[in-house]
């Protein structure tokens, strides 16, 4: 196949374009595209870059608040955190690459999301990872789990950004399609933020970072192309991450950003040089002329098609102010990185590529972005579905001790220590001691201040599956609650929407419902969406994954000395339950892990209660009157108490009426706090005066967790069960 190849319907199809989409291309071009041009259209109009199935619905999400500096549309979203400082963050998926090559797939996922954040001028300060694996006994899982975790650590540890938290689920629906979602949070000065809109006709376009190879070039296309010679050489390859180069790139970019030399900058993510140049040109309403001979190349005889579609990692594209090339070049050379002026801004409105003295492509930029197809795909959603389950609808267990041990020792609630001990979660010296992995939200101090960011990722796919709207709401609410439980004020979220095939109405229905729920929660909680990512077609053999809209939430503690963590601090503290307990067992973990059942709908999220209860809890933490708090989520109240006991090696004596619904129900908007005895009256009064459900349930102390006559387990036994899942699993499978 050569650049002169005649475009046939087969080639169009191989590029994942429909005949109708190809007609649109003909119309935009006013002529037949050549192969390079077709390749450029195909990646720009891919689901990944164009959001053609999701755009319509994403638009409905609330994206604004007084503290939002930049919402969706840039490389990452930005919020104001006071004192002329901004937090910049985003989450992104790397699901398919991680299934093919778990180490490199996960590693390059981390690298990609880091670039989205530092390209805006932020120093990355924290990484998070949201992982979903198949059933532990699936033969591929040991390899996938250990590879993904090693890859995330391998990249994050080397670049020196702490990986401070995340989530890990196991469910059959991910057997053939694991999910690897990575999030980065960075901090910048509010007046030193960099955007991607190119400007200034004649300004130089500069390529920095690693050289371009044939990495990750659109597999389907390449595999079916007819190669004349050295086809072995040209085969598309898995992208390999180079965190060493990334670290240099971070430092070099931040050094250059301290000057005024940059007009615009954008990382080369998916579809590398194509999407970065097209997006920069489109945002600025200008044209780009690139001379591909000047692109630093790692391999010989690369074609324009390959250069434009390559997904080589650790590269950035910048527009500089005229005359600042030498200044910038000196910085990149100091850091041993490639630096090349590869073109300039034009007023043509076209992306014009020259190669070996000829025009290799000449495409009007606007249609690449604006004319990309947008679909209103049919969807099915039963919004009224409501099948709650309570204690009487579920068989009881005879032994609550065993039930608790099974839950906290099972794959979904066991300690993730085996994972996070492979991540440097302390480098940069601002991970607050009690905010190290294991708490509700990670707490990362804003360097040199007394403020801290609270960061969490959450989603309960069981709920989204059972009721997409409530599930979408719940995912947002849970991040909000997790931040609140540390004393943080939740500010904004990013998301990574992982779903199956959107061409199937029931999957599209899940998507639409989840967005509705998310939107409602974000709006009510004044907790806007400022960035995100969509990953569709997560399917194997026609079976989709559980809908997984992973939410990454960020909040702020104005004074980090007033914070709470999950461990009990003192014997004798009074244990208090905040929030209403009805005993919802629908779609609960209890039902799944103890009975192997997934039925019913989850507890509805009462956003008003969520807000009321959370604001109350936070207000108490902010006074410094309590330092122990944990929200209630998967596994219910008993699991929450057990987690608090295990974190502190202290037991508690709890008195509770009620049944397994009370102990294991997953009602929302609830927290457990431990309150010093002499503070109890004041706090209780505050709760009563604002109508917050507030109940004293026991006292901290002893070596056992005791709940009336139902539960009595030694904390050490709890810990053994909790800590042994991963080590035992890998001692069997390494």
């Amino acid at each position: 196949m050569t650049e002169q190849t005649k475009i046939t319907p087969e080639i169009v199809a191989e590029h994942g374009l429909t005949p109708e989409e190809y007609d649109l291309i003909l119309e935009s071009m006013g002529r037949e595209p050549n192969l390079t041009e077709l390749g450029i259209f195909s990646v720009m109009w891919s689901e990944h870059c164009s959001y053609k199935s999701s755009k319509l619905h994403l638009k409905t999400l609330p994206t604004e608040a007084d503290w939002v500096i930049c919402g969706p549309g840039e490389n990452a979203g930005i919020i104001d955190i006071g004192d002329n400082q901004a937090a910049i963050f985003k989450m992104e998926s790397h699901n398919h690459p991680s299934y093919i090559e778990p180490y490199q797939g996960a590693a390059t996922g981390v690298g990609g999301i880091l670039r989205d954040v530092f390209t805006m001028g932020a120093r990355p300060v924290a990484n998070m990872n949201a992982l979903r694996f198949g059933m532990p006994d699936h033969p591929k899982m040991p390899h996938l789990i250990s590879g993904v975790v090693a890859g995330i650590g391998g990249y994050g540890n080397c670049v020196g950004v702490p990986t401070v938290g995340g989530e890990t689920d196991f469910d059959e629906s991910y057997n053939g399609n694991i999910l690897v979602n990575a999030m980065t949070v960075g901090i910048a000065d509010s007046n030193k933020i960099f955007y991607s809109a190119a400007a200034g006709v004649g300004n130089p376009v500069v390529y920095v970072g690693s050289k371009t190879g044939r990495d990750g070039i659109h597999g389907a296309t390449m595999a079916s192309a007819e190669f004349t010679d050295d086809s072995e050489e040209k085969r598309p390859t898995v992208q390999v991450g180079d965190p060493f180069t990334e670290k240099l790139l971070i430092e070099a970019c931040l050094e250059l950003m301290a000057s005024d030399a940059i007009v615009a900058i954008q990382d080369m993510g998916a579809a590398g040089l194509t999407s970065s140049s097209v997006e920069m040109a489109s945002k600025g309403g200008v044209g780009f002329e690139l001379n591909l001979d000047n692109v630093p190349q790692r391999e010989e005889n690369m074609t324009p098609y390959e250069m434009m579609l390559s997904e080589s990692q650790e590269r950035m594209l910048m527009v500089l102010k005229p005359g600042r090339e030498d200044f910038a070049k000196a910085i990149f050379e100091k850091w041993d990185l490639d630096f090349a002026v590869i073109g300039e801004i034009t007023d043509t409105g076209n992306l014009t590529l020259t190669f070996k003295g000829e025009v290799a492509a000449d495409i009007p930029v606007a249609p690449l972005v604006d004319k990309s197809p947008e679909y209103d795909r049919p969807w099915n959603l039963d919004a009224d579905k409501y099948e709650p389950l309570f204690a009487g609808d579920v068989d009881g267990v005879s032994d609550y001790n065993q039930a608790l041990l099974k839950l906290i020792g099972g794959p979904n609630l066991s300690s993730r220590r085996w994972i996070w001990e492979q991540y440097d979660h302390m480098v940069m010296g601002d991970t607050l001691g009690d905010g190290r992995p294991g708490g509700d939200a990670a707490l990362v101090r804003v360097h040199g201040t007394n403020k801290a960011l609270a960061i969490t990722t959450d989603c309960t796919p069981r709920y989204v599956q059972a009721h997409p709207i409530e599930g979408g709401k719940q995912a947002v609410a849970e991040t909000w609650r997790n931040i609140t439980a540390t004393g943080g004020r939740p500010l904004a979220i990013t998301n990574c929407l992982n779903f199956g095939n959107p061409e199937r109405p029931e999957i599209m229905g899940q998507f639409v419902g989840a967005i509705q729920g998310m939107g409602a929660a974000c709006k009510f909680l004044e907790y806007p969406v400022i960035s995100g990512n969509v990953s569709l077609y997560n399917e194997t053999n026609g079976k989709g994954i559980k809908p997984t809209p992973a939410i990454g939430g960020v909040g702020l503690l104005a004074d980090a000395s007033k914070r709470a963590s999950v461990n009990f601090k003192r014997e004798g503290d009074i244990v208090v339950l905040v929030g209403e307990t009805e005993g919802h067992l629908g779609a609960s973990l209890y039902l799944k892990e103890l009975f192997g059942e997934e039925r019913g709908t989850p507890a509805k999220v009462d956003l008003a209660a969520e807000k009321r209860n959370g604001n109350f809890v936070r207000s108490i933490i902010e006074t410094g009157d309590i330092d122990t708090c944990h929200d209630i989520s998967g596994g219910g109240l008993l699991v929450t108490l057990a987690e608090m006991a295990m974190a502190s090696n202290m037991g508690a004596n709890i008195t509770l009426d009620g049944d397994h619904g009370t102990l294991f129900g997953e009602d929302q908007a609830r927290y457990v706090m431990a309150v010093a005895a002499d503070k109890l009256d004041d706090i209780q009064e505050a709760a009563q005066s604002t109508n917050i459900p507030f109940k004293v349930i026991g006292t901290v102390g002893g070596d056992n967790l005791v709940v009336t006559d139902k539960v009595n387990v030694a904390v050490s036994d709890l810990k053994n069960a909790h800590e042994s899942f991963f080590p035992e699993y890998f001692s069997k499978h390494d």
Partner: protein, 79 residues
């Protein structure tokens, strides 16, 4: 019987280590090093004495563990 296995990156796969070594050799003053690729070299002592059986076994070891065939090639010598 002894098996020697070489595991190398497939052509076209980025080799960050090789790249860094080349750079470092350059700063140490070694000119004219045009390319560096780093791979693994693994020696196995086998109880097996039959050459064909040993070859088959090591080949399987390579595919299952020693090499990551998504990005690496391997070759086996016996003696």
């Amino acid at each position: 019987m002894k098996a020697r296995v070489h595991v190398t990156l497939k052509a076209g796969v980025l080799d960050p280590q090789g790249k860094a070594i080349r750079h470092s050799l350059g700063s140490l003053g070694f000119d004219g090093v045009e390319k560096v690729r780093q791979g693994k070299y693994i020696e196995l002592d086998l109880a097996e004495t039959d050459k064909d059986k040993a070859m088959a076994a090591v080949d399987e070891m390579c595919r299952k563990l020693l090499a990551n065939t998504v990005i690496e090639n391997y070759s086996i010598e016996l003696d």
